[in-house]
Symmetry: C2
Subunit: 452 residues, 2 copies
């Protein structure tokens, strides 16, 4: 009954295997929902001899990806090899041969998205990448279709399951960073080289994609100010918990609220803060309660208000679910001859720009190691005061170590450049030891209400 859509798969590791199994199990169901049957006809792998134990004919495997990307009998190509060199070539080749492409490759989309989208449009095909952000959560569809009538007022994402697992265990079990990372590696949540995850780059790629879709200008990875969670001190997690805060590695995308409002009262789009760093959230906020390897994206739109999307952010099955969603969209676009119906990317603000980190304003948590003697606080307070930085509360935990004591300061809204200047001066005081620890706080204050 159903039309057949022939799919070529390039790469058949964990996600590819999950995809083939899910299609084998639910392919008939999808066909009844779609009115089109999705059939994996060819699979390119590096090593034919590997035992994959997949429910497909061995004859469909090849080591020659080019033969798939150029095969006239293949309608759609799914790229699941990762990396940004060969993968880019694979996708460009398939697009140039008139095939729409589906990818889960966030690094590639973030870095080379504009080139790939242009090539897709030029060839009258499309590029689908739901699986590139937040695994099984259909956030790209929600953002650009479900919330299409909204200006995004702010977007926060917990987008890396490895980091969220580590932070959850540090808080709940009191593990230090190294132990939590080792456990994550033992459980398969973290790679042997964890840099991409724990240093925030993976989150930055996803933040760039979500920011681009929200604000309509392409944000490249080097524009995303990125700090990871490596070496986060358990002491800060514990002090923060005592004050009612939880640590999350948070992607933040939001327009600069201090920018002038336009004449008709509309909140301007730009410049837009696009950042990734460890952040303190009030522990009763819904995002603070997203634990373990789960991801979540909080989107506040000017029409809809506050919404949240939660689910597994990684893993073979969750990612396969997102690829299946793209396969369905692509199959429908083939069936209805509507390849550009929802283009891979639509610019809508040509003058959009990323806000410089120096001008980003937020509250801060500051921990210093200071000498326990009269005048210390006066020295620190006068440096902050001179720079117009306000202290909202202070906290001197118990427990001394000789004459050195920790001092925690909560800072009112301040600019990053002012804070940097203050920390430089504070670090030069002879009553302060080592580097100050500076963590941003996101209080989720209500947005100012504007007249219509």
């Amino acid at each position: 009954m159903a039309e057949k859509v022939s799919v070529g798969l390039i790469g058949c590791g964990v996600v590819g295997g999950g995809l083939v199994r899910a299609l084998s199990r639910n392919g008939a169901l999808m066909a009844s929902r779609l009115g089109a049957q999705i059939s994996v006809e060819r699979i390119a792998v590096r090593d034919l001899s590997k035992n994959r134990d997949l429910p497909v004919e061995p004859a469909i495997f090849t080591t020659d990806w080019m033969s798939i990307a150029t095969d006239p009998a293949i309608h759609l190509v799914v790229e699941l090899v990762g990396g940004t060199d060969t993968a880019r070539e694979m996708i460009l080749t398939a697009l140039r041969h008139g095939k729409s492409v589906i990818t889960a490759n966030k690094a590639l989309i973030c870095e080379y998205g504009e080139e790939l989208f242009e090539e897709a449009e030029k060839n009258g095909v499309n590029l689908y990448y739901e699986a590139s952000v937040a695994g099984g959560i259909p956030i790209i569809k929600a953002l650009r279709e479900g919330l299409i009538g909204n200006r995004v007022q702010r977007l926060y994402g917990i987008l890396n399951g490895t980091c969220n697992y580590i932070l959850t265990q540090m808080k709940n079990k009191g593990w230090d960073f190294d132990y939590a990372l080792a456990e994550a590696q033992r459980l398969g949540y973290a790679e042997a080289d964890p840099a991409l995850d724990v240093d925030g780059h993976d989150t930055a790629h996803k933040a760039g994609i979500l920011a681009s879709l929200s604000y309509g200008f392409w944000v490249r990875p080097d524009q995303v100010h990125t700090e990871g969670i490596r070496g986060l001190d358990i002491l800060d997690i514990q002090f923060a918990a005592r004050m009612g805060y939880t640590f999350k590695l948070l992607a933040m995308v939001k327009p600069n609220l201090a920018a002038p409002v336009s004449q008709n009262g509309a909140r301007p789009f730009s410049p837009v803060q696009v950042t990734v760093f460890p952040t303190l959230l009030p522990e009763d906020h819904v995002l603070a309660n997203v634990n373990g390897v789960f991801n979540a994206v909080f989107v506040q739109g000017d029409v809809v208000g506050e919404t949240l999307y939660y689910g597994p952010g990684a893993g073979a099955d969750a990612t396969a679910s997102a690829v299946l969603s793209d396969l369905a969209d692509a199959a429908l676009d083939i069936k209805c001859d509507s390849a550009g119906r929802v283009p891979a990317f639509t610019p809508h603000e040509e003058d959009g720009e990323v806000q410089d980190i120096d001008s980003v304003v937020c509250p801060f948590y500051l921990r210093l190691q200071v000498m326990d003697r009269p005048g210390t606080m006066a020295n620190i307070a006068s440096i902050l005061g001179d720079l117009n930085i306000g202290i909202s509360s202070m906290f001197q935990p118990e427990g001394h170590e000789g004459d050195r004591v920790p001092l925690v300061l909560m800072i009112h809204d301040a600019r990053h450049d002012a804070m940097r200047e203050a920390l430089k001066k504070i670090g030069q005081l002879d009553v302060v030891f080592g580097d100050p620890v500076m963590i941003r706080v996101e209080p989720f204050d209500p947005l100012p209400v504007l007249a219509d």
Copy 2:
């Protein structure tokens, strides 16, 4: 640059007004995202003299909805009048005149969906109803597009903001039902006649729609076993809280896990439990923490795992956001000539059926008013034991009232018919006063893992 899509609006109350305002504010943005301009050209209302203060020309208002539903210059009709009589006629008329229709009318979709979808298909147009369930949360798009590759293993919804506000205030502020309802009415969260909300019918309409989309056979409102929250006793909310449970009015959609598994190990689709009743949830579950007027839908798919969608469930703006999403889809379908791309409804299991409430199995909370004398518990326990109903724990709160004391029993998984039989017999004991209170418990136990 952009094609124009001409929209006729029938009904311009709270949601209609919100829609017109949102389009006025964000219409240019949507046009840049869509490549098509959505323009409200005509609006049908009952009373022309009402002051609406909307940013449109007064000349576009009419009292004659028929002239809009039949106007060849109108491409899309948005029905926002509510009710199931005239609204049905309006939609049928527009569909028969070759116009796709967008509606937020859950009662109409649930009751007459099949007739309307058939009429849409017959005329080569479509019917869009994202706004009919869970307000601004794009749950229909998530369910039938984002999760299209999944078998829904279970779906839970908090779908009525009025009830959720009342339950939240009863728990957090200790208000009784009548006071919480009066406050909801005062704040505009509840209608003067609150029956549709507090008796669960509104939730049942939405549950029917979500069940239909998940399992591919149409579930009519009279098939949804529905109990509301009217008269819920603050005592039970307090007792439940002491045991770590929170009350929610929960829509539940899940296949009968006790049904035989098919030969290939696949979990069968049917019969499917589709119910609405007050339910006790473990207080640390994410759904137990959806508070106030917010809605949330928890969907567990066999590929993706656990996902959650959260946002405002009602109100002019949230509903307008969902209507805008449908307007965008409809505009793209006009632009791409792809009206049936994602049909209003696609059956995929012809033999699907709703599970009879008698065979639904779950744990229960039971509160009895009993005489405080020896032998009372033995009498009750032997009735439960004879029916193979197991007691998991007991709780006798302090505080007497003469010789009458409350007795709370937590019951292991039991069938509804067995529980009904037990309660009948227990109610006849001369040591038991008044009607027993019976509340279902949803423990969110992990699903059994099946071989691939």
